[in-house]
Symmetry: C2
Subunit: 510 residues, 2 copies
Amino acid sequence: MGSNTFRLVVFRYRPGGSFQLVDEIRHAVRLSAGAGPEGLHPDALERAGHAANLYRAFCDAAGVDDVAAVTTSAVRDGANRTEALAALSVDGGLDVRVLSAEEEAWYGYLGAVNSTTLTDGHVLDLGGGSVQVSQVTGRRLGEVVSRPLGAVRMTERFLAEEKPGRADIRALRRHVARELEDLDWLAGAGGRMVGIGGTIRTLASMHQRSVRYPLMGELHGYPLPLSGIDDLVEAMAALPASERSRLPGLKQDRADITLAGAIVIGTILERAGVEAIEICSQGLREGLFYERFLSPADPPLIPDIRRQSVMNLVDTYRCDIPHVEHVCALALAIYDELARLGLHAADASEREMLWAAGMLHDAGVLVDYNDHHKHGYYLVLNAGLPGFAHHELAMIALLVRGHRKGLPTLSPLEDILRRRAARSPERPADGDEGTLRRLAACLRIAEQLERGRARGIRSVHMSATKAALKLDVTAIGDPSVALWSAALESPVVQRAFGRRLELGVAFPAA
Amino acid sequence: MGSNTFRLVVFRYRPGGSFQLVDEIRHAVRLSAGAGPEGLHPDALERAGHAANLYRAFCDAAGVDDVAAVTTSAVRDGANRTEALAALSVDGGLDVRVLSAEEEAWYGYLGAVNSTTLTDGHVLDLGGGSVQVSQVTGRRLGEVVSRPLGAVRMTERFLAEEKPGRADIRALRRHVARELEDLDWLAGAGGRMVGIGGTIRTLASMHQRSVRYPLMGELHGYPLPLSGIDDLVEAMAALPASERSRLPGLKQDRADITLAGAIVIGTILERAGVEAIEICSQGLREGLFYERFLSPADPPLIPDIRRQSVMNLVDTYRCDIPHVEHVCALALAIYDELARLGLHAADASEREMLWAAGMLHDAGVLVDYNDHHKHGYYLVLNAGLPGFAHHELAMIALLVRGHRKGLPTLSPLEDILRRRAARSPERPADGDEGTLRRLAACLRIAEQLERGRARGIRSVHMSATKAALKLDVTAIGDPSVALWSAALESPVVQRAFGRRLELGVAFPAA
């Protein structure tokens, strides 16, 4: 029950296994709107009580086993806290916990580190009432600061006019800068910063639209540049509050408060010396969930985010685990053999994408066996893989699509890969097209070797001449299906490595 | 193991529950190619033996529980049947059954009637060696005819030249007509005809491309007009066999035999007085499967094809059955109340689409809760619903998409609906747009009334004034979540029925 938005999320999970968000209700309650020295405004408490009552009824009715109701800055800092809690708790129907600033930061941190690969850097969580900035070192929570610089509060204090002037904006920036002045650990820290909260998601959504981002709507993992925030501040400031929802991506119920929020975020990024903030679509609510999901782990951290993301989808899409694990083992063995032969450079990121695609290559069978490579592409791309960058997600989805039938091609997602290429110079010599061709060749040969689903091919050994790649297998049982099937991939090998594929059976030395 | 194509399909099923095709291998063996008075050609038997050996190895390795290996016309009619069976059975490794012409027709019939709503009409099954035409009356198999007019045989006999002439085509037409001459039950029978086999699927695929069909690749249920078959015959006949695969949709390994197949099919349609043939992507293989799946039912017929199709997806996409069934019950009750008030005409087809969409509305949650209406649209459209026409499938998918968030719109599938509109004059007065708006309003109100997932709203009673639709509920427990949620759908009701939505609680008369 936040200072701006109330939200109910329902997770279904197997403890220690997979989890899914299965329901969500959201209300723009504006709990902190109109708050004064006497505390929260009676109208706000009435709206809050109404929403809380609905949530309690929902939890009762839906048979939710375990309800965690929390509230944050607005109630914490309000002078009429007892009265506010009575309204939110629906006269005892909900057991509402008022999070301290430290707890609020803690749960935001848990949401962020359990859905991103952040190990060292900062988490910025901007709500309606307050902002938390947390330092993360070796995945552990370090320094924390909480300031009452939330988007609703700053709007009411500095930008309440229908059309605020330049001076108002400057005053807000000065105020934020002053509040952060004494934080030596933040000043010019640089490095990664992960951003949480509705305001930052809104800014990312607006920015994606303004640059026609090819994975529109895939907010989690989106790098929002400081320069983009500045542009959005300009665009919003040029319009009266009542007209700002004309800007693509800006919803009516956030049209007034997003300008102040953007200024707070931009000022913090400047202070921290950070060029871009990575959007995290999870936060405090997911942090509360992870505490339960990972119990009794302390701190409740998922050991390997990428692995968890992939295994979550393997479970959801009911992939045949013995089969896909064997395909992965073979694909990675082929990848490593090719590296040993000097036909490509071994690369940890490529290897991990190959593993992920191997685990998920059959996901689309759930929709229809026909075109299951295309359905798998849709399922992976749209479910997303927290912990993988968007260009990695794109590559994994393209590998799933390219694991059978036509030769794999970048074309459906070329744009997302090109944008990444423009940003990062450290890429394989043969570019993304080369990566896709090489990884797809490994995956396709492995899939064909495991065509019989019997895990009969136990190992591979490769050798190369100028014209041919020879792949010898050791097998339990008859390898004829495997070898016949793998031979079909010669064109893919030719395209990736300029050599035809030859297959044989290796007899282990006596 | 057909006369042209060998195919291995693997089904996973719960007896009497749901089923899925989970694997498939296909080889263009051309078993009947080169067959003469001494029987099947030695080269063909060698190719066949190789494929059969692979299939046996696959079944062993993959741990398939129950293998049904069958072969048809080529072996049945070949003079060297014993030799052929030895090759196909891999020296006893596979227990191969040679189907009689009657059995071949029977399994094709089972595949067709268990995946379409055909109750009365005909099934045409064109293979490489033979063609079967079966009469269906009240879903039961009636008259059957089998003739050695398969696509490979007719190609070898009449169209073996690289570029056959007009006279060759006329000779083939005359031959087919003569073979069918004595079938009084077929002549001018009219009505529905369902078509099975690789040739007819290929023709449908070519036709979809030539008319830029909006559901490209959705072959099952596609109505292929006789005029379209004639056009394709012209297009193929104008090219030498070796260049025909340039025609969009015509694969290399069928480029030579599809012309003869198209002529046979066209001639049969003319003879039967049928204007269009409905493509069935299932056939003999699925017929064999249904015999097992439906055991001990005799005849093995799915009682309600449409219901089975929907429930198959409900199971696959793990929909919450108590919730979706309650949403369906409420949506249909609202639909019926609106009909009672004269606000629309009760229509059985609309009602069934509403039911299907209600059962599947949450399917997309499996992919991601965010945008789950869009994911559900993809999942339903791409899995398909055998037994529903394409325009019904399109409408169901649009309803799933339109069950939440933005106002429902035809636009993603407008084209498929427009094509249908051109064919069938009997449509609701307000067109497909009206159907979508009205059904979406019913579904959205029902979903909101069941927002709490507690099945607390037991019945609805509606009344109408010029400006408002009043909906009163009887409820177990507190209906506040339900009523508050349903009130959000007033704009959708306004758009569909020109009235605002008002909600209340009905107290049953004492």
